[in-house]
Symmetry: C2
Subunit: 161 residues, 2 copies
Amino acid sequence: MTRWLDDREQAAWRGYLRMQARLQAELHRRLQAESGLSIADFDVLVALTDRPDERVRVLELASSLEWEKSRLSHHLARMQRRGLITREECDDDGRGNFVVLTDAGRSAIERAAPGHVESVRELVFDALTDEDVDALARISTAVGARLDGTRPGGTRPGATR
Amino acid sequence: MTRWLDDREQAAWRGYLRMQARLQAELHRRLQAESGLSIADFDVLVALTDRPDERVRVLELASSLEWEKSRLSHHLARMQRRGLITREECDDDGRGNFVVLTDAGRSAIERAAPGHVESVRELVFDALTDEDVDALARISTAVGARLDGTRPGGTRPGATR
DNA sequence: CCAACATAGGTGATGCGTCAACTATTCCGA
DNA sequence: TCGGAATAGTTGACGCATCACCTATGTTGG
């Protein structure tokens, strides 16, 4: 009944998993060492600098990062403690909050970005041919389409079998 | 000075990151829902069943999983609490410990494996052509080789810039 | 023999991620 | 206009990952 993976698939899958874990760890380690930021901090700060006024509503940020609101809430609390962001109340909606980039946050991301991009280039793109880059994009799109087909993230996937 | 990513590279990189995060989350969610195991539990149990006698020394397990010993130690403590593994002392070496698969651990992995493989097939390999699979393996190898070049995991990567 | 060192492994603190539950507002319809 | 439902966001508990440090045992050179 179970459609097991053949040797070629196994090798590709194991290789992917191993590369993925190591790459993530190494990028995180470097970013942390060079700037004191985590990848998650980086993503939040990038999302904030992408806004013209460097402020966003919490849930809008969550949805643009594709994070759960609870994850974001916890993360913002930690970032606020470190002075990277602040919060401001929203006049229109008493429930709402804006997340606002602080000067410290802005300078942290500006210091961190070049090194991080350089790491990505060095570890990934310098290793890949143009065709590899296309293949990576194609693969990501194809798998992403599969993921779209499933119950996105919310309630239980409800048995595939 | 910084070699930024061009649009094609940006698109590939963002696509990869997004796919990677979603795939990992979905595989974890399904495995958890179907079997109560995490991916980490799964990996430990697979490593154990790969041994002829279903027992391994802690540090050997750590190195075959490429985990830090401390991570493994914490994880084994949790798995032991849940009855998936036990520990036995090592006669040859008073410092050493064996990790031993319990009956509960064996049946957990046997129940979990088919569904997990099916998820991988459904979400990944069903989406990919043969060439994609080759490309994935090639890309993983190439990036892996880059990672080999860096201070593996231990002490600080020491500034790339 | 024993002091120094290496090795096996565990511990505690802290950051990160998820789930379930909670509070406070706003919205909406009778 | 009032009561229930939806929405915005937080909280607490717990599992997971890393770091720095600790203990206990083994190994080795003088």
